[in-house]
């Protein structure tokens, strides 16, 4: 980190003079814009001061004392936690342990006075009297005072917006904007949360309400870093108000899943629910549509990424649960959330596997498989005429959102005969290769059929010749539809009790193992949600998961 230049210092000194004690709205507006860069500058200054003695700091940065002093009298700066801390650390750096001259001695006295000013109320004032009277420590007193101040303003901000008042009087949007500017340094102050919430919610009841950009940005950042906790309605209001904030929340969820899949894997549902996105989506259709737009784009860019697939699947399940938990009269029909999906496909796919009797699964999934197959063929013809197959894409995306049915198809393939397998294989192929058309698509189905046949023989055989194992290995690592085959393989491994260990021998490649982990996690999620996870299944799933762990870990456990 380089030392601040004289030019920089004089820029900030000018600012400090102009801001004064931050009493005017225009000063606060300017400060809200500069708060971030002021923090960086203070950080840079602190770094320099830590390396120099006071008298030489005063020589090389002649205004530094005055600059810091002015900021200490500016409540907008001292209300911001990070700025306040940096500022005080800078001031403390200027304190000379052994003052060598009058200048350093004076600096020391000045610093003590400054700290007294910051930490003690002036005698002979109401605040001083009240602190003495209150019978609690001053920091508790200040916390209570702030809570009450926030409660007052929250009331003012909320009341001034009720429709009856609004229609009679002029709108108070200017002052609301000023309040939002004033709140920028207070975002991470827990006491200020109700006011921040009220400002955000005001947006819903007053269309012309205008909040400062810096405020929205600071709130979004603090929410993501969990340094601010808001009530549900306020978060929804924020996301309805600011597209970038909503996108930021979705991307942060994606990032947490993609950057550290190992940590997230076991508690995917918890991570997804705690993002609050499913619940907000259920309450506000437009939030759901935007979240899905982001997912759709990511899925298209990373088509074969099983982690993203698992995330979208879990998100959709959480969303559906939140939706059905709402009161009947308050919730929008699900149709509104999936406007482009063919109606006849929507209900069968949105139904949970657990809601369909087990003996009807084959019929249910076969019906979906056949419908998708015929849609796909129709789309081929439309595409030849030059139309883009929107409905088909939406059908595929819905299938990705409801991946549980894909798992069910794979599960059923373990026990069905060749004739019954056809629509199931169609469904699996369509899911893994949605863009393949005509001849290519038929080829993929054929390849899947062949692989299924080989796996059946492999898993039903009582002994396992090594050449079969290696050919399966080859198939998994070379085939274009590696994920499809992996899904099939895991399905056999989970539901064919005797041969769990066979799969373990096949899964040797690191990349395959990683993808297998995600598929197992999502299988675990589906089975436990559906109440089908008996002890035997649990044991097999756990055995499979353990076998996928890096070797040193499995040896330890």
């Amino acid at each position: 980190m380089t030392a601040p230049s004289e030019l920089q210092l004089s820029f900030w000194m000018d600012k400090a003079v102009k801001w004064g004690q931050a009493t005017t709205p225009s000063a606060q507006q300017d400060m809200s814009k500069h708060l971030g860069s002021l923090r960086s500058f203070l950080q840079q200054l602190l770094h320099t001061l830590q390396l120099t003695v006071t008298s030489s700091a005063v020589k090389s940065l002649p205004f530094v004392g005055q600059f810091l002093g002015r900021l200490c009298w500016n409540p907008y700066v001292t209300a911001d936690g990070e700025s306040c801390s940096l500022l005080l650390q800078c001031v403390c750096c200027l304190y000379s342990a052994e003052p060598r001259n009058a200048l350093e001695q004076r600096a020391n006295d000045w610093i003590r006075n400054l700290l007294c000013h910051l930490t003690s109320a002036e005698e002979g004032g109401v605040i001083y009297a009240l602190e003495r009277f209150a019978g609690i420590a001053p920091h508790h007193c200040s916390s209570q005072a702030l809570q009450k101040m926030v409660a007052l303003l929250t009331e003012e901000v909320s009341v001034s917006c009720s429709p009856a008042v609004h229609s009679l009087d002029r709108c108070l949007c200017d002052s609301i904007h000023a309040v939002s500017v004033a709140c920028v340094p207070l975002i991470t102050c827990p006491e200020a949360a109700p006011l921040i919430g009220a400002l955000l919610k005001r947006r819903i009841s007053c269309g012309c309400s205008h909040l400062s950009e810096e405020f929205i940005e600071a709130v979004s950042t603090a929410l993501l870093s969990k340094t601010l906790v808001l009530e549900d309605m306020a978060v929804i209001a924020l996301w309805c108000h600011s597209l970038s904030s909503l996108e930021g929340a979705v991307l942060s969820l994606l990032e947490s899943v993609l950057s550290d899949p190992g940590a997230v894997l076991q508690r995917l549902e918890e991570v997804v629910s705690s993002s609050f996105l499913p619940k907000a989506s259920a309450q506000h259709c437009c939030i759901f549509l935007i979240v899905n737009d982001v997912f759709r784009n990511v899925l298209m860019a990373m088509e074969e990424n099983v982690a993203v697939g698992a995330l979208i699947q879990v998100f959709t399940s959480c969303f559906l649960r939140s939706h059905s938990a709402q009161k009947q009269q308050e919730r929008l029909p699900l149709r509104a959330f999936f406007p482009h999906v063919p109606q006849n496909l929507l209900t069968p796919l949105l139904t949970e596997p657990s809601e369909v009797p087990r003996q009807a699964w084959l019929e249910h999934v076969s019906w979906i498989g056949r419908l998708l197959h015929s849609m796909s063929r129709e789309a081929d013809q439309v595409e030849e005429k030059g139309d883009s197959p929107r409905a088909l894409f939406e059908a595929w995306f819905l299938l990705a959102q409801r991946g549980h049915w894909v798992d069910v198809a794979a599960e059923l393939l373990v026990s069905v005969d060749a004739e019954q397998s056809e629509p199931l294989l169609c469904l699996l192929t369509f899911y893994h290769h949605p863009t393949d058309r005509g001849h290519q698509s038929s080829q993929q189905i054929m390849a899947a059929r062949e692989a299924w046949g080989r796996m059946r023989i492999l898993f039903l055989a009582h002994t396992l010749p090594p050449e079969r194992l290696s050919s399966m290995n080859k198939l998994l690592s070379s085939a274009t539809s590696a994920n499809l085959l992996l899904r099939l393989l895991l399905s056999f491994a989970i539901f064919c009790p005797a041969f769990t260990s066979t799969a373990v021998k096949v899964l040797t490649q690191a990349e395959l193992k990683r993808r297998a982990e995600w598929l197992l996690a999502s299988a675990w999620h589906r089975l436990s949600r559906g109440g089908a996870l008996d002890a035997a299944l649990q044991d097999r799933l756990r055995a499979l998961q353990d076998s996928l762990l890096p070797e040193h870990i499995s040896r330890c456990t």
């Binding site: 801390s85 004032g125 102050c189």
Partner: protein, 348 residues
């Protein structure tokens, strides 16, 4: 109990020494111990201050120690019982202000400003630690920013947001003390010292007014207590009548019958002290610090505009006063006639 009293006395002595030259013998270890004792004292206070018998013993010991210290150190300021609640803060501020405090001690005080990373996590912020000075400074600054915001405030009758907050804190404290039996005289003493510390009736009046108007609570025991205390402090009540905005006095009159009586009495007294200047045809006050006719008229107008029942009561009173003065209908003879006339103009 004796042990507690002894510790209390010792801690008060430590606090006194921290403000003298003897502090130059302190090292960091001494400071750490001093803060521990200060914390101990705060706990003793919190635990016992609303229990009359123990409080009396604490107060006796405190006063004895105070007197002894005053003999030893010239310029020693007596510590009150409430001060015990903020021992650590007093110790901190005292050391900062004391020029002979050793440098190493000052540096250790700086360590009480924890860095942002250490003290900034949300858990720790809500879970207040005694050394969280950054949090303390932040909250005070936040109050400063918020109290100056200009949102239209119809309900406030000209009360500043700061006064409203202070009024609420005042009531809260009275409630906290009063919820334990036999604490009335203690609460009175507390209000007396609050008045003394406030630096003038002006500041104080607004806070009291805000407390009386604070919310529409079901349980108004604390407000009743405050009114009762005010009746013993006529000077404060008169200052409120004179310095608070007319709209605020009207609102207080609507809510507190006691205030209404005193306010109306003051208005009558002010009005009757006015003299008519024939050459200028205006009512003037006899001395410069008395209340002007305009000011009285504004206040009367404000009361009228509040509607029933104040309006009717005023009309009746004014009619009686006018008749006592001779029931004239001409300008300049009776101040009541002229005030009543304003009423008619106002109503037109």
């Amino acid at each position: 109990m004796e042990a507690i009293l002894k510790n209390l006395g010792n801690t008060v002595e430590v606090l006194a020494v921290s403000q003298t030259v003897f502090v130059n013998e302190w090292d960091n270890q001494t400071v750490v111990r001093a803060f521990q004792w200060a914390r101990y004292c705060e706990q003793v206070y919190t635990r016992f201050h609303t229990t009359p018998s123990i409080r009396a013993a604490l107060e006796t010991r405190l006063n004895q120690t105070n007197e002894r210290l005053a003999e030893t150190f010239s310029g020693y300021r007596f510590l009150t019982l409430s001060d015990l609640a903020q021992c650590q803060h007093r110790l901190f501020a005292g050391l900062l202000r004391n020029p002979v405090v050793p440098l190493s001690v000052i540096k250790s005080l700086f360590d009480k400003f924890p860095s942002f990373e250490d003290g900034g996590s949300p858990d720790e912020q809500s879970n207040e630690t005694d050394s969280d000075l950054i949090g303390f400074i932040r909250r005070r600054s936040a109050c400063d920013i918020l109290c100056s915001l200009a949102v239209e405030r119809k309900e406030s009758c000209g009360l500043s947001r700061a006064s409203q907050v202070q009024g609420k804190l005042l009531l809260q404290r009275i409630e906290a003390v009063q919820c334990r039996p036999d604490n009335d005289s203690y609460a009175r003493t507390l209000l007396d010292s609050f008045l003394q510390d406030s630096g003038g009736l002006g500041n104080f009046s607004e806070v009291i007014a805000a407390a009386l108007l604070s919310g529409y609570r079901e349980d108004a025991t604390a407000q009743d207590f405050l009114l009762n205390w005010l009746q013993g402090h006529r000077d404060v009540l008169h200052s409120m009548c004179q310095s608070l905005q007319p709209a605020l006095c009207t609102k207080l009159s609507q809510q507190c019958p006691t205030f209404k009586l005193i306010y109306w009495d003051s208005l009558k007294k002010w009005a009757s002290s006015l003299e008519y200047n024939v050459s200028d045809q205006v009512w003037v006050q006899k001395c410069s610090n008395a209340v002007s006719f305009k000011s009285v008229a504004d206040r009367v107008k404000s009361l009228w505009s509040s509607g029933s029942p104040l309006k009717e009561e005023m009309e009746k009173d004014l009619e009686v006063l006018k008749q006592t003065d001779g029931d004239f209908e001409v300008h300049g003879l009776s101040v009541w006639t002229d005030l009543e006339e304003l009423h008619y103009i106002f109503n037109d």
